[in-house]
Symmetry: C2
């Protein structure tokens, strides 16, 4: 597959995938671009444009096959193959990622966690061992994992990412509240920024709180 | 404050806030729109436009005062006042939100968690009690909390949100992998979708994995 997709379309794909999975589980077999657009808060013509770009054609009067479309988008997203990853930081976020069942459904499997805290090293989270961060290079030599979840404090994030790059990690799912920026030829990075989404909620609350008090 | 900000600008505010906080902690006092734009991967003119919209003016040759700008954006985001919230679901995500120190820095405080699992009810997470979900109405009558973190399985999300709305919750930070949609006059919602960000990383990995194997 050698599609060159725009960053905007790439970011829409997970929402398509999630909605199609929900429709499939609800037993829906076909969906029109209008109905899919409505679910996604997008125009029908954007949906048709995206699908054409992915090489998927709907049938006049039937719309798109839900299962076929879900399968196709899953393949474009690379969800059809298993991915091993290590989790750096065995605190609350590292624990949540390791325990959360939703990621393994997409083929992501945590093989080891790393921490610098002697109280955590040697423990297990959901059966996954917590290893000493200073052994990460040795571990990666023995286990060629290429994906790391970064769940360390902000102050440690950049240095930790540098060490991971040195030892062969090629993709980082970053939960530390800093913007990690890498040349994609060196490292794929997605910065999550949980606090940002909470701050957007805070903004909305701040501009409605007057109404709440009246109620 | 009666600013009407676009959804796009609202979504940029947390990134401004985060970058300005980092600059302030590093002892930087002034920053130009060019330098701030570069940090945020945006043009200097968009930064100037955003700041003008917020009513902030830079000084010729000095740029913006970092502390003043951070304070102003913090106020627009409503981070200058405390917010109580309850967490629904005491699983891995609920635990992470309750334990994570970064949210309390922004004034968000968890007062109680709720679950349906008898094995979890009666316990504590970081000192916060895990209460029986069926008592949530009674709790909200006694404690007028208006914000809930939704950390329940997808299948339970919509019904749980409906119950919360009934008992007076007016804002939901949703971690369940479904798109909750409410009229903002009824409920403010921010959907987080952790899996979406992992799937974006998966896409990037899928389109680089060939190069990894060569290395």
């Amino acid at each position: 597959m050698e599609l060159q997709l725009s960053e905007a379309l790439i970011r829409r794909l997970p929402a398509y995938y999630r909605n199609l999975k929900e429709l499939e589980q609800a037993g829906v077999e076909h969906i029109s671009s209008e109905a899919l657009g409505q679910r996604m808060h997008q125009t029908a013509s954007l949906v048709r444009w995206d699908m054409k770009y992915l090489g998927v054609l709907g049938r006049q009067g039937h719309g798109y096959g839900v299962r076929e479309l879900r399968t196709c988008i899953g393949e474009v997203l690379g969800l059809n193959r298993p991915h091993d990853m290590i989790v750096i930081g065995a605190g609350s976020i590292g624990n949540a990622v390791t325990r959360y069942p939703g990621f393994s459904e997409d083929g992501f499997r945590v093989t080891a966690m790393f921490d610098t805290d002697p109280a955590r090293i040697g423990g297990r989270v959901n059966g996954i061992p917590v290893l000493d961060w200073k052994d990460v290079g040795e571990y990666l030599k023995a286990h060629p994992v290429r994906i790391a979840v970064l769940a360390v404090p902000a102050a440690a994030a950049r240095e930790t990412a540098g060490v991971l790059e040195h030892f062969g990690i090629r993709a980082i799912w970053n939960f530390a509240p800093v913007d990690l920026q890498y040349d994609p030829r060196v490292m794929d990075v997605v910065n999550v920024h949980l606090s940002d989404t909470l701050q957007v909620l805070s903004y909305k609350i701040a501009h409605h709180a007057g109404e709440w008090e009246e109620a």
